[in-house]
Amino acid sequence: QQPPVRIALIGPMSGTGAFEGQLGLEGAQAMAAVINAKGGVAGGRKIELLTYDDKGSPEDGVSAAKRAMEQDNVDMIIGGWFSAVALSMKEVTRDKIITVMTSSQHPKVTEEGHKYLFRLNATSAMMSEFYSKAICDRIKPKSIAFMNVNDDWGRLELDNYTKLLTGCGIEVKGHEFYNRTDTDFTTALTKLKSLNADAIYVAAINTSQGATIYRQIKQTGYRGKVIASAGNMNPKLVELSGNSLEQVYSASPFTEDGAAPSLKPWLDQYRKDYKNDPSFIAALGAQAVQTLAFGVDAAGGDPRAYDKIAAALKSQAVPTVMGELRFSDKGQASQAIHLVQVQKKQIVSVRD
């Protein structure tokens, strides 16, 4: 029996982001199970996932990364779900260990291009470029108002979309920022409703905040269109939001009806092991494991041959559940993004 490849998965396992962290973990575990069932990587080494809780806080993320590297001596790291955590964690891990950052969209994560750092999610710029086109061409609201979370990502979204949507003639009527800890949004929504915009764009990462916002938009009596931010549509959100997400659009690199060969076994495994429906976050978890496994294989089986692994990942296409992934020299992945819509409580991809 060969020793396993030890991969640290650092994510929010408690606190407000716990649900999202859980989804990512499940996705990664299901993928590890699929790979291990087929004999593991590098001719027989199993993948062992070690979980660390960053509580969604940068300080805890740094501590967790230190522990993973210094105490538990892991081979590689998956982590950085929230941008703030990703940004500070990379300072500890950069140039020391192969790290795959997952959902954080902040451009700065891959801006400097550290040699062992990879990021899967599309940056907000890539997402917004795609999604704003869809909004302009397909949804076509005359005017729009924004309901964004008050953090870097939410602020970035506002800037990006204000620029892009004004560019295609949509009037931006106003915006509200809510706090990451808020549980009730009636005050903000009352203000937004009074702007009489054609559509309200909601940028919410947190599932429970999102669901509350979508429900409360309807409850305030708003009758216009609702647009969900890119990358933040998942089955749980749809379930929690009742009817209020019906016909609402979003954009996502993940769709259940994708064509990637590895999607099906993973979906099966996931559905078997967990009660949740697979979501984009879970797919990112799976993708991260696939990326690392591919890198180890490509580098000849040594999970510590970081230079080789990095070189391999940057030079070849990585087959994943969301299709083929290509990494830039700075470690940024480019993902295919699809327009999705909620129809009869199902997230379906909209294709022309």
């Binding site: 396992m13 408690s14 606190g15 407000t16 716990a18 649900f19 962290g21 859980q22 008050n150 509200e176 920022f177 809510y178 706090n179 800890t181 549980t183 009730d184 009636t186 005050t187 903000a188 009352t190 203000k191 009074s194 599932t207 429970s208 905040q209 669901a211 509350t212 429900r215 309807k218 409850q219 305030t220 009596g221 749980k236 929690l240 009742g242 009817n243 949740n276």
Partner: protein, 292 residues
């Protein structure tokens, strides 16, 4: 300024404020009678919402029945918590008791996360999405229900404390437990009932507020902080004080969020508390310590 929006914000604030009041009432009872700063109160609120959810989904009971069952069950849990933790510590320093309640809060919150899962849940209520138009103001039936039920519960609690014999015993125990014991008051029973009442109220507020938002295992944190603010601002142990303070806080937050800055909404609430306490150090409705 647009009057419709103004009226709507006032209405939002009153409903949110009433939810604070409901949470604060149980807290003020436990504080007023037992001198316990109960950080776990928010967790009983959380349990109230979750038990309503599970009774509804697992046993298929309707919302009202589920809420009632949850209030009773949580009242029982409160009695157990009192028996195991607070009663044995009743003569210890207030900071010790505070820490024990902090420990209990952590225990219930994390235990809840383990038992209920980290995923957010939604308490189904037939009133949740039904919109009522009252003049220019739009409210869901659920929000109206929060307000109405709170009013009823508050009046009942107030009358109970003010006029019942047991209320008198509670006040006596609050002011001097030894003296109360020597007067023939069963202070153990007073503790038990107070906890049952307070936790039942907490659960009721969880069940009522639940359908207006999402529930997840850490909602108690938020609830207990708001509750404390209201209790202190209203005056320790004063139910009337809690009522006014809660409504005031709700409305100020709503107007502050609506007209000044949403990001500073909470800070505006805190600023008001600071102003109130500097103006009246014992809170709006208080002359000294003790349950009234």
């Amino acid at each position: 300024m647009d009057f419709t929006v103004f009226a709507q914000q006032i209405a939002n604030g009153l409903v949110n404020g009433m939810a604070y009041v409901l949470i604060a009432t149980g807290l003020t009872l436990v504080f007023g009678v037992l001198r316990i700063v109960n950080f776990a109160h928010g967790e009983f609120y959380m349990l109230g919402a979750y038990i309503t959810y599970f009774v509804g989904t697992l046993f298929g009971l309707d919302y009202i029945a589920a809420a009632a069952i949850s209030a009773v069950v949580v009242a029982g849990l409160g009695v157990a918590a009192n028996k195991l933790i607070f009663w044995p510590l009743r003569r210890d320093h207030e900071f010790t008791i505070l820490l024990s309640s902090l420990g209990l809060a952590l225990l219930i919150a994390n235990g809840g996360e383990l038992l209920f899962g980290a995923d957010p849940k939604y308490v189904e209520s037939p009133f949740a999405d039904e919109v009522l138009e009252i003049g220019t103001v739009t409210l869901t039936q659920q929000r109206v229900l929060v307000f109405a039920a709170a009013v009823v519960a508050l009046i009942a609690v107030y009358l109970f404390i003010r006029y019942s014999r047991f209320g008198k015993m509670m006040r006596a125990t609050a002011q001097n437990p030894d003296g109360a014991a020597l007067t023939g008051i069963n202070i153990g029973l007073v503790h038990t009932y107070t906890f049952a009442l307070a936790c039942g109220l907490a659960a009721l507020s969880g069940a009522l507020v639940g359908p207006t938002v999402m529930i997840f295992p850490t909602i108690g944190n938020w609830a207990v902080l708001k509750g404390f603010i209201v209790v202190i601002m209203g005056g320790l142990g004063s139910v009337t004080g809690a009522l006014f303070a809660g409504l005031l806080l709700g409305v100020i937050e709503s107007l502050g969020g609506g007209y000044i800055s949403l990001g500073f909404m909470e800070a505006i609430g805190y600023a008001m508390i600071i102003a109130v306490l500097l103006w009246r150090p014992n809170g709006l409705f208080s002359t000294a310590r003790g349950l009234r």
